[in-house]
Symmetry: D2
Amino acid sequence: MTAPSAVKAALTSQSIETPSWAYGNSGTRFKVFAQEGVPRTPREKLDDAAQVHRYTGVAPTVALHIPWDRVDDYAALAGYAEDQGLRIGAINSNTFQDDDYRLGSVCHPDATVRRKALDHLLECVDIMDATGSRDLKLWFADGTNYPGQDDVRSRQDRLAEALDAVYARLGDDQRLLLEYKFFEPAFYSTDVPDWGTAYAHCLRLGPKAEVVVDTGHHAPGTNIEFIVAVLLREGKLGGFDFNSRFYADDDLMVGAADPFQLFRIMYEVVRGGGFTSDVAFMLDQCHNIEPKIQAIIRSVMNVQEATAKALLVDRDALGVAQAEGDVLGANAVLMDAFNTDVRPLLAEVREEQGLAPDPIAAFRASGWAERIRTERVGGQQAGWGA
Amino acid sequence: MTAPSAVKAALTSQSIETPSWAYGNSGTRFKVFAQEGVPRTPREKLDDAAQVHRYTGVAPTVALHIPWDRVDDYAALAGYAEDQGLRIGAINSNTFQDDDYRLGSVCHPDATVRRKALDHLLECVDIMDATGSRDLKLWFADGTNYPGQDDVRSRQDRLAEALDAVYARLGDDQRLLLEYKFFEPAFYSTDVPDWGTAYAHCLRLGPKAEVVVDTGHHAPGTNIEFIVAVLLREGKLGGFDFNSRFYADDDLMVGAADPFQLFRIMYEVVRGGGFTSDVAFMLDQCHNIEPKIQAIIRSVMNVQEATAKALLVDRDALGVAQAEGDVLGANAVLMDAFNTDVRPLLAEVREEQGLAPDPIAAFRASGWAERIRTERVGGQQAGWGA
Amino acid sequence: MTAPSAVKAALTSQSIETPSWAYGNSGTRFKVFAQEGVPRTPREKLDDAAQVHRYTGVAPTVALHIPWDRVDDYAALAGYAEDQGLRIGAINSNTFQDDDYRLGSVCHPDATVRRKALDHLLECVDIMDATGSRDLKLWFADGTNYPGQDDVRSRQDRLAEALDAVYARLGDDQRLLLEYKFFEPAFYSTDVPDWGTAYAHCLRLGPKAEVVVDTGHHAPGTNIEFIVAVLLREGKLGGFDFNSRFYADDDLMVGAADPFQLFRIMYEVVRGGGFTSDVAFMLDQCHNIEPKIQAIIRSVMNVQEATAKALLVDRDALGVAQAEGDVLGANAVLMDAFNTDVRPLLAEVREEQGLAPDPIAAFRASGWAERIRTERVGGQQAGWGA
Amino acid sequence: MTAPSAVKAALTSQSIETPSWAYGNSGTRFKVFAQEGVPRTPREKLDDAAQVHRYTGVAPTVALHIPWDRVDDYAALAGYAEDQGLRIGAINSNTFQDDDYRLGSVCHPDATVRRKALDHLLECVDIMDATGSRDLKLWFADGTNYPGQDDVRSRQDRLAEALDAVYARLGDDQRLLLEYKFFEPAFYSTDVPDWGTAYAHCLRLGPKAEVVVDTGHHAPGTNIEFIVAVLLREGKLGGFDFNSRFYADDDLMVGAADPFQLFRIMYEVVRGGGFTSDVAFMLDQCHNIEPKIQAIIRSVMNVQEATAKALLVDRDALGVAQAEGDVLGANAVLMDAFNTDVRPLLAEVREEQGLAPDPIAAFRASGWAERIRTERVGGQQAGWGA
């Protein structure tokens, strides 16, 4: 069994990235319920993210989404982040909200639209240069709604062309992380619908291109931890977009729908060396009805708890049972770790870092939520549209 | 085999209701792509619906959605519809777009919110009285996103209380149609998630309450025609919300994703007598990227084609094969009807009614699309929010 | 929060029924892997079941499956069970393994086959009389593989006729438990595919007819605890067939695939009073590759652990948070119970009953597995076919 | 639009392989319903396959399954096939029916078992040499039922090792076709669960390794034609195992569940050049309740009809509509081909080849079914176990 001190050390070194957009309003196609106190500017998002890092100690980076976080001076924004104890994480592109993108972006049948989309992607690399961001995270909403609407295969050719151009623009220490998604907003075909498609493109592109696993982007029943294990084995796992779902891409708090699945995923990460490599652990969630900062703190804690359990797996005992073909014994070793209540351990870890043992309670006691409700009045709240 | 004349007569008598909101803008949580020429008022929606009826001859009623179609004088709106050769169809309630409804409407934990929602439902019955509408169609977005968020069972009690009050308000010739939906916008529990729940409530309510089957509202793999057959057998099928889907509630044009399924559904309708009873055949779709009026005409035609094929099934031969346990023979009888190209038959039916044989071509030639693009400039386009 | 003593008392009074067939061989359509030591007779199955009860203390009844457990003298079999400290639980009918049932049993198009199937069901009630069993559990494999193969609605009529006849035969203290299943072995339509269909039949039949929820018999994504809550509210939940699944009806050990789901189900049972009523908690699993007795002990323990967590939910605090619309607070109350490690509590409960704290270890130490491997040589091992 | 003569020529040149095992008995884990007249030997299977080819004209090859089709002299078996106007198609390995394979075959934790499995695969290549078969089709039932049971990643290493050894053994004109499957018989993890995994292995192996798409082996909702398009684009589509499904791997007659999907798949094949390359079109079905030879003839016809419709797509018009972003126009071009009744065209094609226009009727009239029921009495019927 892993020594408790090693488990603690690993937990202390963990880093979970929070997304700027999760601090803003979000919703479904039916309704966006605005919440009081929601940030109105990228800096206010960073202010909220600093709270999450303050109480958890493991959320030092914040992902940006362009154009939702567009500013005139990105270096200044990075400086502001630094002042709050944060760094800029992945830059997320957006090629789905201009009217031009009705039929796609880099896969659009019209070369003019494709060029526009590509220019946006290249702009994102500029922003990476300005902010010191390492990762360009690409999610394409491209796809079709009706059979025959467009030529599925030609769209792959167009996609490849755009990815090649972006890849060529990357600096030495920059990565292209390609995300796949089963469906939505396209309802018949999606141009990067599964890990296989993302993997094939990343393989062609080269070592700086890796696959992102969004835990909510799979067909029902998909064994996500298998994909994680295979991508790690192939050296192509760039990172995670964490969230959870019961149905489709529900974007609930990670660990809320199936904590056992999250544990299994984290176990494959630990087993595959992903925890000590450059795999990025990012959240990508929508807090449609619950308070956002608290929900993000809870999500960070859920990842921590799953990680702690994964680290606690007695891998020696597990290996012995597996080698012996002891089905129940091997399963029991895994379940023993999962069934352990790791909250006391994490409380210890936090206290050893000088943090409050219960981040949620500490945040609630801080008055931050009340303060932003009072102060952030007027202006345009941040959301997916701005 | 059904005589061609009987098939034609049945097709001529068919009536398919189009929804006012399908003429307006719609989209996904990621983006609503506005289209030029989209109606700005309920009357303009009726104008477009009149076009659909003009070229298909089988779409004489239009469903309203309150508050999206709120007007000062509903009787006048009904009169306007009549002037266009239309009637007002089902009244659809909306208890999901006020900020108060963040945690539900008639199932909300707070009695004040429940009362507000109920008042809206009762207002909808008032509108039925004013417009001569027969059906109140209730779809509740109510549900929860997180386990424990609310008490699932208490929410059923609250739902029952509201439904009882609405039912008591119905006039003699009015019906309450209760719709179920697997998920969305709620992502953990939905208060009316399946036909069983809707059926149990309708059974308690009484004969004026019936279940609506939205073809996009089921778990993956669900055999919808079975549900249709069972509800018809129980005398509880109130109608359909037609659309099609590959994944979740995609709201694509009916028949676009799985025309064989639509045929099987229509076959159970024909076989169960639903075609000659008061089952309402309604569309409920989102034309996010395609031109709306054409898409609705196509949808109406798709329902007609599936109906024609269902009517063409040689039920005598089918019965014989089924009784003999001739699996392949019985299947072949059904497939023979499905594989028949019924487009010539429908062209004949239209021509016998004095209509153009190809509604899409006739509409395209009419210049209506160009006209509304030119005329409907300025103002606020209709959409889900208004 | 429920007092620990009350939780312990509830856990002590819990009763989980094991199925005779789970002690025999099982497999997939690809292969049945025989295991050494598997029972060859109903008595040997009872011997194994007695071991499970011996080490868990909560498994005093054993379900039989006819004809797999056919004996000449059922009263004698019941006596033998009693000698082992057991009672006969539910009688399970089998109308799917005779060649006559190729196209169905009680729903078959041929009246002769239907009569044969009905006679078997009535025979099962005779066996209930002889063994003192309370519950007749009916699962029908009936369905069709191809559209058109048979008339879906007529099959409902035939099903109703058979159920009526069986219901009429029940004694005063006997129940008919109707099980539904999404699919398999039928691949197009299934005659009792969902809880709604089972519920409608049970409602018509009367108070002695109730629905059985097999946790593996649902469409992907189905919220099973919702169904449990609704059936309890309607007074129609007869019991559970517990198992777990990642994909279809995998029949894995209950709690092995999604322990959080099992907890949520048990919470609705507790909340709905099902734990103190006559809801039957039965296992229905296939231990295709793992040792059977140990797997069943583990399954019983998994149900116990989920129950303990459900009992530990602080329902007062939960109710307050729910009433206040505190989404995260209410969820946290539920998760707090789930995250608790209840294994020490259950060890205490066992020790207070004079049992070993770790049933698996105690069974392994007992030598029973080695003994049956040695003694049960020759003869015909029990399986699904015999 | 493709000229009718070109369509006919393409249809005439089509070749659909039937599997020897589909002529034998099959079933579910619940029951195998034996049918009268079923073959008892590989030669009798070839006799039945010859009937399928005789009436369809497009089924000249038969896939073998080892050991189900094990004979002493494979060259003689190939000669017998030739005498019936047939050739031996793909050789299918079986590493799932020996007791040793309880925990896997080439991925088993025990090297001895892995060696045994590998030897079997190499034996299959010997049989290819002896029979002139071009393709080795590998489907591995390997996987695990419980989390932790074995190390998912190590199993990939073992798989890779075995595949490397087999690949090295292939002759110049031989191919290794790797099949993936979502689940079953493994219920937690499957070692080749998706096209991405199969693709990654084939890529490493080299040009003689290609992926097989079994149309029943995907997660719910998967867009199979997308995978087909991508694999063709990558030059890695080796062939199809055709069948259809409503739920899991139902193995129904191809085209029976979703004929529109089959058409879309065949369209991508035509569009991607797969129809004129070495893509193998194979059936892999289970005729559990329907007469087998007729079901296979029907399946061949279904593939032909889908192919004919795919060939009829007006690709010029489609390309224009796609380039213009005309969503409804492009969809209409595709649907026009699908809605065409191609049965008269196929009847013509058959008559031009000297075949009866209706293969099913011709087979029924031939008396073959009656003859084998009379003659094939006694002996051991072929099935999955022998």
